[in-house]
């Protein structure tokens, strides 16, 4: 058995490293750079029922050790994703996690029902935390009852396990995690971006056309670590951790905090080869440190024996 193989609800992963949603499109571009088969999984760009153009540009801005984005869930819509993107991606031997978004419960349910029926999709990631769309989004991600209700509705129709993606823009992350656990979530992915803004000194106006955007990258890593540390002790759900990962040390830190797998977002932009590089380095790190299996590290910062809930046996 490999040191990296990881089993999570619905997912058997060669390794626990995957690109985060929105930072990898539907895989086409990166497939020109390396063989996608090496990846643990792929979290595809958020899919909504109808095609969306998203927000006006500029959509990104740089910040100290981070970046802001306000893409606004641009995507070709459910139909094209089903017909074009998923079949194309299925040529690779890599699990697909479909990121599902919407403006109201019905949208989420509709997309979840259809896309979870695709033979190419192994799990859903419920995006209840996108800060960059006018309607919906925010309340689903910040009000526990609303999040729980949405999770339940989606679980009723989904044919694959449902991971709920938590927003860090809340007073109490544990409350949110417990609410979606109550709602029947099979796992958590965290964290989405922190709401932020930058102003252009030349124009005096926000750099992003959408004004505010989501902060990602190394700057937010301490917030992600703290939230995973808290949530992993209070729920039984597996956690796919993300937020500022760019080195193998970061990955270890996420595991120690309580993650069962990790996703890489922004770092794909600074180094498009980051995922295969980290997969290799993680294996080497474990070997050099005589760790038999990566899951042994999960939760070690708060539990002597680690969490070990999702061990690959």
């Amino acid at each position: 058995m490999s040191r990296l193989e990881t089993k999570l609800p619905g997912l058997t992963l060669k390794n626990p490293i995957m690109p985060a949603s929105g930072c990898f499109g539907f895989g086409r571009e990166f497939s020109q750079l390396y063989d996608l088969d090496v990846l643990g999984a792929i979290m595809i760009k958020a899919t909504t029922e109808e095609p969306r153009y998203g927000n006006p540009t500029p959509r990104v801005a740089e910040t100290p050790a981070g970046m802001l984005n306000a893409i606004g869930l641009q995507n070709p819509g459910l139909e094209k994703v089903m017909e074009r993107e998923l079949p194309w991606l299925s040529q690779y031997n890599v699990p697909i996690i479909a990121n599902v978004a919407g403006s109201q419960v019905e949208d989420y349910v509709e997309v979840a029902r259809t896309i979870s029926g695709s033979p190419h999709v192994q799990a859903l990631e419920l995006n209840i935390s996108c800060p960059n769309v006018k309607t919906g989004g925010i309340a689903f991600g910040t009000v526990p009852e609303t999040a729980k209700h949405l999770t339940k509705k989606v679980k009723e129709v989904s044919e694959v396990p449902v991971y709920v993606k938590l927003s860090p823009n809340v007073s109490n992350i544990v409350e949110m995690a417990k609410a979606v656990e109550d709602g029947g979530a099979d796992g958590l992915t965290m964290i989405n971006t922190l709401l932020g803004m930058r102003i252009d000194l030349k124009t005096g106006k926000p750099i992003l056309a959408n004004r505010t955007g989501g902060l990602s990258g190394p700057a937010i890593k301490p917030v992600a670590i703290r939230m995973i540390y808290e949530v992993s002790q209070q729920t039984n759900l597996p956690i796919i951790g993300m937020g500022g990962i760019s080195t193998v040390e970061d990955i270890i830190e996420f595991y120690l905090a309580g993650a069962d797998a990790v996703a890489i977002g922004t770092a794909n932009f600074s180094n498009p080869y980051i995922c295969p590089e980290l997969i290799k380095e993680l294996d080497e790190y474990l070997s050099a440190n005589q760790i038999d299996h990566i899951s042994e590290l999960t939760g070690r910062s708060w539990s002597k024996d680690g969490k070990r809930t999702y061990y690959c046996s």
Partner: protein, 259 residues
């Protein structure tokens, strides 16, 4: 093919106020086959600045595996780039995007190349290739003022060259369109790169039947994956059509994208 390489600085020169000419060497140059494409640079091995910077390829020298960029040192990233000295390494991803189609101009035809500010650089490689093919080139270069102007002489070696400056300190006082009108410039095909206002003015001018313009947009990935750099297409009733500047562009046929 897109590659990522630590390339070596051959030379770095300050050629006008805050304007630098940087020549790098490495294998990646063998992939550079078209004028108007760009590279995406990580200017520091550290975390900050986090994002890569898109810079056009201004001159390709495949024999020596070298290429040249010209850029303005303005923000955090380009200022750090300007500190690189011969022998230093730079992390280059490229070549990216689609460039200016040289084949759209026929031997014997006249091409008008219009550049504004730091939109001028990619036109230099383009002009050389057009001239090699026997296409006559006319160059119109617009700058804020004389102190930030560059490469006028180099372009002049390749064909008629007109300069416009906003403050009139060099050439025609005003914009590139003023110079075009003043000298009644005409040609078969237009190639342009510069600020959107300039591109829009050129589109309205309808100087040639055919034209190609190069756009700028803030980028995330630079390879088409993140949807940071999209623009609308013209005549799109649904409003959901788009092009990605980084991978569909940065060069588009005039009339294709909404400016």
């Amino acid at each position: 093919m897109i590659k990522k390489e630590w390339m070596t600085v051959v030379s770095q020169q300050n050629i006008a106020k805050n304007i630098y000419e940087l020549t790098l060497q490495g294998e990646l140059v063998q992939e550079m086959n078209e004028p108007g494409r760009f590279v995406h640079l990580k200017v520091s091995g550290q975390t900050m600045p986090l994002l890569r910077r898109p810079i056009s390829i201004a001159n390709i020298d495949q024999t020596n595996s070298r290429f040249t960029m010209i850029y303005r040192a303005e923000g955090e990233g380009t200022k750090l780039l300007a500190e690189k000295k011969a022998g230093d390494q730079v992390d280059v991803l490229g070549p990216l995007g689609h460039g200016f189609p040289v084949n759209e101009a026929q031997t014997g035809e006249t091409a008008i190349l219009v550049g504004g500010g730091i939109g001028v650089p990619p036109l230099y490689e383009l002009s050389q290739r057009l001239n090699e093919k026997g296409v006559k080139t006319i160059h119109v270069l617009g700058f804020q003022s004389a102190d930030v102007a560059f490469y006028e002489a180099k372009f002049a070696e390749l064909g008629e060259t007109y300069v416009a400056t906003v403050d009139g300190s060099l050439g025609t006082k005003g914009f590139v369109t003023d110079a075009i009108r003043e000298f009644n410039l005409q040609g078969d095909i237009l190639y342009s790169c510069g600020p959107v206002v300039m591109l829009r003015a050129l589109e309205e001018l309808q100087l040639t039947k055919k034209g190609f313009i190069s756009l700028e947009e803030r980028m995330g990935c630079g390879i088409g994956a993140c949807f940071a750099c999209v623009c609308h297409t013209q005549n799109d009733p649904t409003g959901t059509e788009y092009r990605k500047v980084c991978s569909d562009g940065p060069v588009f046929p005039m009339g294709e994208v909404a400016l």
